[in-house]
């Protein structure tokens, strides 16, 4: 555990998540629901708190309403204490003009005042869109032991997938020698997880010096890491080997949810020493009626189930009426599913309404998506 504000956490949560299509029309990717009880950012937020980080800045830009409300004052993660806090960092205007965030590193540069106000020795930069459990204090310890200026968390991916990632080539001491974004012929399979620990004083200097001259230091992956490597900064890899999923596409989001249903999926959600916290909805217990049939599934508060649920996840306040079946699917909060509906291999967005008799089937190779708030088919007025 880190005993003081040695390290400040910054979560980059402003991304649009274009590849999630309809699911990110009205909210940023980190706010997308996951696993029945969570939004994606909960994993990063909880990892920070469990690692002893007491102050977190969450950088938002694209469609921030749902995310802002979810994070609130941080009380859901115990961040509303005297010596801790969460600060939402949105773009703002100033005498120098509007401060939009043109890239990941640019977002840090625009928020230098916030970071200076906490005055950390180390800056932990995280993306809010991965599903994993990780102890950042262990990564920090290695960063200190290595005398690094920058440490990048990496995970070994299957060689055949390596060309889809940013790959870090390292020497025998895990010092990074080369960084190649999506290499056609990868020399290593150490993929960057988008988790960085910087010595803040040095990063601040690099950002300020460069942005005073021009705008060529916008992005960590494209600009800052290559600059660090070129200028001989000690940059090290931190090897992570646990469960980690990038849920940036419909297929990967669906897959990660289906894996979440497996009792031994590597996340070990029952481990109470590393809990993933979330904002809890105010809802009655789940109700299963006489006609309900539920197997290999997860269900949470506020759900009403009269149909058949097989190998699926129902999030808060979902209703599934009699005669309907939900198979291999993820239903997001507040969705309402009428009678005699069939849903297979699908993701149903928040507060979607599926009318009686509708069939939604992604087929064997694809995943069907119903957008947030979308209405399909006619709905009956009986209630």
């Amino acid at each position: 555990m880190i005993m003081n504000d040695e390290m400040l956490g910054i979560v980059l949560a402003g991304g649009k998540g274009t590849r999630l299509g309809k699911l990110t029309q009205n909210q940023a990717k980190p706010a997308v629901p996951f696993g029945g009880r969570y939004r994606i950012i909960d994993f990063t937020m909880s990892n920070c708190v469990n690692s002893g980080i007491r102050n977190i800045g969450v950088i938002t830009q694209y469609q921030p309403l749902v995310l802002d409300r979810h994070i609130g004052n941080g009380a859901s993660w115990g961040l509303d204490r005297l010596d801790s806090g969460v600060t939402i960092l949105q773009p703002y205007s100033s005498p120098d003009g509007s401060k939009w965030f043109a890239g990941t590193a640019h977002a840090i540069y625009q928020n230098i005042d916030y970071i200076d106000s906490i005055n950390p020795k180390y800056l932990l930069v995280l993306s809010g869109d991965h599903i994993y459990k990780m102890d950042y204090s262990d990564m920090l310890q290695q960063h200190i032991d290595n005398g690094a200026s920058l440490t990048v968390a990496v995970i070994d991916v299957p060689w055949e997938d390596a060309s889809r990632f940013g790959i870090m080539n390292t020497d025998e001491h895990d010092r990074i020698t080369e960084f190649v974004e999506k290499p056609a012929e990868p020399k290593s399979n150490h993929a960057s997880m988008g988790i960085y620990i910087f010595n803040w004083a040095r990063l601040r200097e690099v950002l300020v010096n460069n942005f005073t001259k021009n705008d060529n230091m916008l992005d960590f992956g494209k600009n800052v890491i290559p600059y660090y490597l070129d200028s001989g900064e000690p940059v090290y890899a931190y090897r992570f080997s646990g469960y980690w999923r990038d849920v940036g596409t419909i297929m990967s989001l669906w897959q990660a949810n289906m894996e979440f249903l497996e009792p031994n999926n590597g996340l070990n959600m029952q481990d109470r020493s590393w809990r993933i916290n979330s904002r809890s909805p105010l809802a009655p217990p789940q109700m299963l009626t006489d006609t309900a049939e539920v197997s290999q599934s997860m269900i949470v508060d506020g759900c009403y189930v009269a149909g058949k649920i097989q190998h699926s996840i129902l999030s808060a306040n979902v209703r599934v009426k009699e005669g309907s079946q939900v198979i291999d699917s993820m239903i997001m909060p507040g969705a309402s599913i009428g009678r005699d509906v069939t849903i297979r291999r699908a993701i149903i967005g928040e507060n979607a309404v599926i009318g009686d008799g509708v069939t939604i089937d992604g087929g064997d190779d694809d995943i069907a998506v119903v957008g947030n708030g979308e209405t399909l088919g006619g709905t009956s007025n009986e209630e």
Binding site: R37, L282, L288, A292, V294, Q296, M298, I313
Partner: protein, 387 residues
């Protein structure tokens, strides 16, 4: 609109012997209800839904740990905001002061004066309901009486011997308030006092000041009950929503089972008055491929591998493979072992039922397994009677 027109005093129940062993260590107010609530959540929710920010609790000092554990700082109910406070007082305090000849209502009077509200709500924890206190206040303001008692037309079957029954004159004044046990005719429908009162705060302070000089009853609910029949003093407000009077094990069991009836559940839990409880971070409840669950309520954090029907399962409980739970209430963190059976029973918190063990109650004799028990041998209510 001025928001804080009312303050509230919630008087927990002292008379809970008929609910033992469930109330051995906790007051009635923190008894679990419908998988994730405690009974006091309903009073607190009514109170905060009416915009009330000042709340005093009167508790049994021997059982207060469970109350503090549930309420914490009151954040979930919005009672931690600046200008809000909970204030806990003890039944024993006023009794002891009275015995010592001291002014025994001074704590309550101080709370009332500090609240600066024109009206005061006083409510017990025994009547499970979802009460709209703003509506009740409107009626109270329309009368010219300083006290309004809320009542419900209730069948004799659902009334405890020590409940209070009201009668009114043609103008709506309370004229009698008698213990049910003392009535000569105990059949039919009665005006059951719900132990909920709305009082003009000025009148209440004066009455308490005078009362403590005249040796009036030391408990606030007894004190108010004694005021009711005074000529022209009190009117009534009839509550017509879902009500379950919880005064013994069968009535407690029935209240929980009622929630499996969607009409009753909707009336209590899905009105425009939200029921607030302590939030808990738990994973979703997992249903295994062999799970069979029908007509039941479950909280989050459970793992269900066996069969559950007509039951209510609280958070973090595990029903192992081939285990069967029917017609039962399972409180948090229970473990029902492989091949075990639980029928017509209430399992208190942290109960472990060892594999293969059978707990068999009957509809007329619900078996209660106390907190933290490890059940290693079969239990049945018929054997219990035979012994």
């Amino acid at each position: 609109m001025k928001n804080n027109q009312m303050c509230a005093i919630i008087v927990d129940e002292l008379n809970d012997d008929a609910l033992k062993p469930l109330t051995n260590e906790r007051p009635l107010g923190t008894l679990f209800f419908d998988c994730k609530y405690r009974l006091i959540d309903f009073e607190l929710s009514s109170v905060v839904n009416a915009g009330i920010r000042n709340v005093q609790l009167i508790e049994d000092e021997d059982k207060v740990r469970s109350v503090f554990d549930h309420l914490g700082g009151g954040r979930e109910w919005g009672l931690d905001a600046i200008g809000s406070y909970q204030y806990v007082n003890y039944f024993q305090d006023s009794e002891n002061k009275k015995a010592a000849g001291e002014k025994y209502f001074n704590n309550t009077i101080e709370f009332l004066e500090k609240s600066h509200t024109a009206y005061t709500v006083i409510m017990g924890t025994r009547m499970l309901c979802n009460l709209n206190l703003r509506a009740a206040l409107k009626i109270h303001k329309q009368t010219d009486k300083p006290l309004t008692v809320i009542y419900s037309r209730t069948d004799a079957d659902e009334i405890a011997a020590y409940d209070n029954i009201l009668s009114f004159d043609s103008l709506g004044n309370v004229i009698t308030c008698d213990e049910f046990a003392k009535l000569s005719d105990q059949t039919g429908i009665f005006n059951l006092s719900m132990n909920v009162y709305i009082a003009d705060t000025r009148w209440l302070i004066d009455a308490l000041r005078k009362g403590q000089q005249l040796d009036a009853p030391a408990q606030l609910d007894d004190f108010l009950k004694a005021q009711l029949p005074k000529p022209g003093l009190a009117g009534g407000y009839e509550y017509v929503g879902y009500l379950q009077n919880i005064y013994d094990l069968p009535s407690y069991y029935q209240a929980n089972k009622d929630m499996l009836d969607s009409n009753k559940m909707n009336e209590l839990l899905y009105t425009n008055q939200r029921i607030i409880t302590r939030t808990r971070n738990e994973v979703a409840t997992y249903y295994d491929r062999h799970a069979k669950v029908k007509n039941s309520h479950l909280a989050t954090g459970c793992d269900i591998y066996g069969t559950v029907t007509d039951s209510l399962i609280s958070r973090r409980s595990v029903v192992d493979p081939k285990a069967v739970v029917t017609n039962s209430i399972v409180m948090p963190n229970a473990r029902i072992g492989h091949d075990a059976e639980v029928h017509w029973a209430i399992l208190d918190k942290n109960v472990v039922v060892k594999p293969g063990v059978k707990i068999v109650g009957t509809p007329d004799n619900i078996l209660v397994v106390p907190k933290d028990t490890r059940v290693e041998a079969n239990l049945s209510s018929t054997e219990e009677e035979a012994n």
